[in-house]
Every structure is written in C-alpha cells, then in structure tokens.
C-alpha cells in the first residue's frame, strides 16, 4: 500500500482571520491552458499583476484597474501556443508555452511591445510545466529555471539567453523552489517522492516519501527552514529543512494537512517582512487555506466558486492576491493583512481594550 500511515494526516479547523477582504477585480479573460498547471500568476508590486490570456500575458494594474497586454502571442503560428506557466521577478517577465517555447520581457523597458522568444524543447512532450526566475548565489544576473514535460530541468541565463545547465530526471518536474541561500532546490513532479537537490548541479541530495500522488506545487520559505509541498493526494506537507528524515531515512514532515476539497496546486509562504508567518495553499478550485506557520493548527479558509489559478503576495506580504479563472465570475481577489493573525486573539485585543 502506501508508505505513510494516515495517523500523520491532520485536519486543521478554520476560524482564524489573518486576511480580510478588500475587493475583487472581475476579469473574464483569464485563461488556464492546462488544468494541472497553476503557476500562472505573478505579482511584482502592488501595481503589476500578470496572468495569462488567450493572446498572451496580461498585465493588470489593480490601483488604476487598467492594464495592457504585456506579451502578445497572437502573431505566433498555431492557435495552441498558449501560456502554461509564467513568473516575474528581478525585473523580468518569463512565460512558457504549450509548444515548448519561452518568452521574455523586461519589465523596466520603455518599449512596451517588444519581447524575446526562443525554443526550450521540441516534440510532443515539450510542454512547459513551470518557470521560476531567480538569481544564483554567484551572480546578480537573473536566471530562469524551466521545467519541461520532457523530464529535463533547464537553467537559462536571461541576459544571454543561453542554457547553462540541463539536468535530466526520471520523471517530469512540475514545480521547483529554491532555498533562501540558493544552495538547494526542492522539486516535485510526476512522482510521489519529493526530491531535494543541489541547485547548481541538480544532483539529488534527499528523497522524501510521504505523498501518494504526483506533486504539483512546492515552496521554500524565506526563513530557510519551512518547506511546503502539495500533491494531488489532497495533502499539504510542511517540512523542516534542518531535519528532513529520521534515522531510517523516512521523511518526517512537521505536519501533513488535509485539504478541503481538492489537491493543493499553489503554495506560497508569506514574506518575512509581513509579520506573522503564514502559508497560503490554493486548491485546484474553490478553497484557499491560510495556515499559521507557528502552530500549524489554525487556519483561515476563503472559499469561492471557480477554478483557482494561484495565489501570490504583494506589497511585502500586506496584500494577498487570489486568481480565479472562472469565465463568468473570475478575476483577482485582493485581501489585506490583518496584522494580528498569528497572535493570540485575547492578547491582541487586550492591547487595545483597557481592562475595567
């Protein structure tokens, strides 16, 4: 049967209030190219949110409620070349397409129309699963790690657009996350096990068991300690990077939390500067859970009706953005941090209410 016993799985009851509703910007043009790939939402600031449409990548400015097409793929040959994943960081917007191509656009450029494009892989399995823009620990130049469905994890220097490292695995990688010191990388894919590997060479360091199905999301907290993985088995596992396994080599997660309705497809740790540390888990549809990272026993649940494209923080963690890809009532839901979330409510209230 399966490796881990179900006694480790816990159900966290909702009832906390870490974020409060501000508004929802209704957008009907959000396009989810593949139902399993939900790395399609990026936020670089309060005024720049990126999500894919049928024509390319759209930039939404929530402050002005306006926007424009950041990358227009309409001129590409073939109608199936939609964006399956995107990421924006280090002043660069990178997208991966269904046909194994990449598009790169500088966010600081005054030229709003031009972008560069290239090929990642060819063939029927060239589908781009995940891209992540980051910097290496040797240089401040931005690089992008591209996970394709052909089981190859590629690292590309954005400045020169050359692939600097190609690592082939036994299974397709679906999501990757770097540690805070950029030495290690965790990735999940079409395999139940979670792999921690060297970020430079791609050599596997630790293999973590526990999940029962393919993994599609992971994230590494900025504190360098907490790591979260989400799988289609409706479980979110939080790991301690200081102690991955026990003496027998079995994975020892800090918690294995049961999801509400479907498997988690998007995980995000809050930035360190946002105060109370939380983990946001967006399921495939309807449910977004916000866990208190200190106790892992409290959470806030936000439920909507529609498929979810992902979650992301902006404004140093003060805003939480949720992308709903429903055609009739989809869009971006914005929540504000309450700032008293992880505290004990009684102690928080006693700060402001004078005892009488």
């Amino acid at each position: 049967m399966f490796q881990d016993a179900d006694s480790t799985d816990t159900h966290v009851s909702a009832g906390e209030d870490y974020f409060r509703y501000r508004r929802m910007l209704v957008r009907h043009d959000v396009h989810l190219a593949h139902f399993q790939l939900r790395s399609i939402f990026a936020c670089t600031s309060r005024s720049q949110l990126f999500y894919p449409t049928r024509r390319g990548i759209y930039r939404l400015n929530p402050t002005t409620k306006g926007g424009a097409v950041a990358i227009d793929l309409g001129q590409f040959a073939g109608s199936n070349n939609s964006v399956t994943t995107l990421d924006a960081d280090c002043g660069v917007l990178v997208g991966g397409t269904y046909l194994g191509e990449y598009v790169i656009k500088s966010l600081n450029s005054s030229d709003k129309a031009t972008y560069t494009e290239g090929s990642i892989a060819c063939g029927p399995l060239a589908l781009t699963n995940h891209v992540r823009v980051h910097r290496t620990r040797y240089s401040q130049k931005p690089v992008v790690t591209i996970a394709s469905n052909d089981r190859v994890l590629r690292t590309m220097d954005i400045e020169t657009e050359t692939f600097t490292c190609n690592v082939r695995y036994d299974y397709p990688i679906n999501c990757t996350a770097l540690s805070a010191d950029r030495r290690l990388r965790i990735h999940v894919g079409d395999e139940a096990a979670v792999t921690v590997c060297c970020a430079d060479t791609g050599r596997s360091a630790v293999t973590l068991g526990g999940h029962r199905d393919y993994g599609f999301t992971c994230d590494w907290a900025e504190d360098g300690i907490h790591v979260a993985t989400g799988s289609q088995d409706k479980r979110v596992k939080i790991w301690d990077a200081r102690k991955w396994t026990d003496t027998r080599g079995h994975g020892t997660p800090l918690a294995s939390i049961w999801c509400e309705m479907a498997g988690a497809r998007s995980l995000r740790f809050s930035p360190l500067s946002s105060g109370a540390s939380v983990l946001v888990a967006a399921e495939e549809a309807d449910y977004v859970s916000i866990f208190d990272l200190k106790t892992l026993q409290k959470k806030q649940t936000i439920d909507v009706f529609g498929e979810l494209g992902g979650v992301n923080f902006s404004d140093d963690g003060n805003e939480l953005n949720i992308l709903v890809t429903d055609g009739s009532r989809g869009g971006v839901i914005q929540l504000d941090h309450c700032k008293i979330g992880a505290m004990d409510r009684r102690s928080a209230i006693s700060r402001f209410v004078k005892p009488f």
């Binding site: 209704v26 139940a192 498929e307 839901i333």
Partner: protein, 315 residues
Amino acid sequence: MQQNPGSPQGDGPHANHEAQTGQQHGQVSGAVADGGHGPSSSPTNAGASSGEESTPWLDHLESYGVASLNLPQSVPNAFAIPSASSGSNSQGEDNDADNDVDMENGTAAHAPVLPFHLADLPANQTAAAAAAASMAFGVAPGSAEFPSANNSEASPPASVQPTGSIETDEETDNGLAEQSGGTNPWPSDDSQQQNQTDPVIYGSVNMALGEFLQSWAHANRVQTTEQTHDLRFEVPLISKKVDNEVGRKVEEIRYQDLHGDQCDLQGLNWSYMGTTRTIARARRRASYRNYVNVFGSDSLHVSRSASTFLTRLRF
C-alpha cells in the same frame, strides 16, 4: 514503496507507479483483471465491446454486496460508446486508446484521464445510469445527487474529446501519437474553439460556476411537493435569475458592495437565485471530483474496504 525513485533496480518511477496503480485497482475491482488500466479508462474499455459485457462501475458495486439489486436491463450498457458515434468517429476511439496506452506507459503525464461522469454519457444512457445509481444509493431519481445530461450545456465537451481534431488533422494527430508513444498531449483547434464558448479548462472534468448552477437547476426541474419542504432540494431557480446573477456585468466588487452578508466574495446574491450559499457549497463539494493519477491516493483511509469505496461513491 516510492522512497527511492532513482533506484537502479527499478524500471523507472513510472513503472513503479503503474505497478502500484494496477495493484490498487486490482484490489478494489475484481472486474478489471489486467490491472493495467486506471479507473477512468474502464468505461472506455467497456464501451469498446458489445453491450452484453458488464460495466466496471457496477462490478465495483457487485464486489461489495450490492449485486442483488434489480437493475434495469439498459443499465449494463450505460458505459458503452454509442455505435453511431463510434462508427463515424473512429479517431475518437483512437484517442481513447491512446489515453489507455498513456496510462500504462506513463509517457505524457499531463494527458487528461477521463473518469466516469454521468454528464459525459448520452442522454438516454445517462438516465438509465442515474436510475441505477438512485437505486443503488438510495437517492431519488431526478434529485440533486447527479446532474442531468438533458442540459447539453452542463457536459464538459473538452474533457470528452481531449484531442478534438478528428478529421481535418488526422495525419498530424497520428504522427504525434507515434512520436509520443501513443499520446497526443496537445489540444487541437477544435477543442480550443470549444473552450472559447465553454469556460471549462482543457482536461478538467469539473464544471465552472455558470454550468454548475445551470446543471443543478435543470437537474431539479421536477420536484415533488414533499421534496420542496426539504432543504436538500432548495435548488436555484430555473428562471433567468441565475443567468442574470451570474452574467451580471460587474468590474469591481468592493467590500461595500457585499451589503453585509447579502453577497459573497464574488458578489453573488444567492438568495436572489432562490437558494443559499451553504447549500450550494454542499452541492459543489458533492459534485466536485479531485483529479488523481494514482487511484485512491486522495482517500482518507489506507484500507480499501468496501465502506470506504462506497463512501467515496456517495460523495
């Protein structure tokens, strides 16, 4: 079982997965003897042959002691592909076969697997299958447990034909299938066009908000007077209120626009639609199906007992 995916003695992680999947499925359903096909491929296999063979879903029920039910005669062929469509759409069968091969070989991991869904069946067979399900699980026919296939908008076409290009791109599809070991992970132009009118995402088997409400409302058109007093049957109205509410043109929903608890985060006024959000949520949770690649991986219990399986079927 899955501790060391890179172990040299194995044939790769996919081989381990298939072995595990086949083992799980073999333990649950004795009807699928080969153990190579996932649960979603079972309806296809049943439909590929004549209508006299048994359906895997009903075989599941038979293995757990509900075989003594007097099912209608038309039920055993509820999973069969209609002969008319199979004759005119030979490419569609090839696509289904490609999906089967894909599940065994594990080449294209993101090719959608098509589990059993009542809305995917033709209308006449869906009625029979719903009747059988109502008899098996004690649900009143026409009640809120299963969506009705009479509403053509409720069926997700993209999930039924993932490689929807049938005749025009025949050579291209065949070539892709050969290169990828029998799987074409690309949606064709036709499926893209279907997605333009249907917000259901490519490969997804779950309904969007509008379809969910419409199918729910249409599935409960016939209500008896006894059912109207039951909260479970407090369904949205069939009138244009659902269309008006879901299709209402709004650009921004602020906190003030919610009017307290009158509207939810998406600005939907459920009382205006004739139901409550709690009931809609329960309905949504009951009808939503989590996609898995390993059968049974999302179950709460490890053991594959009959009670667990029946509980999953009852949502």
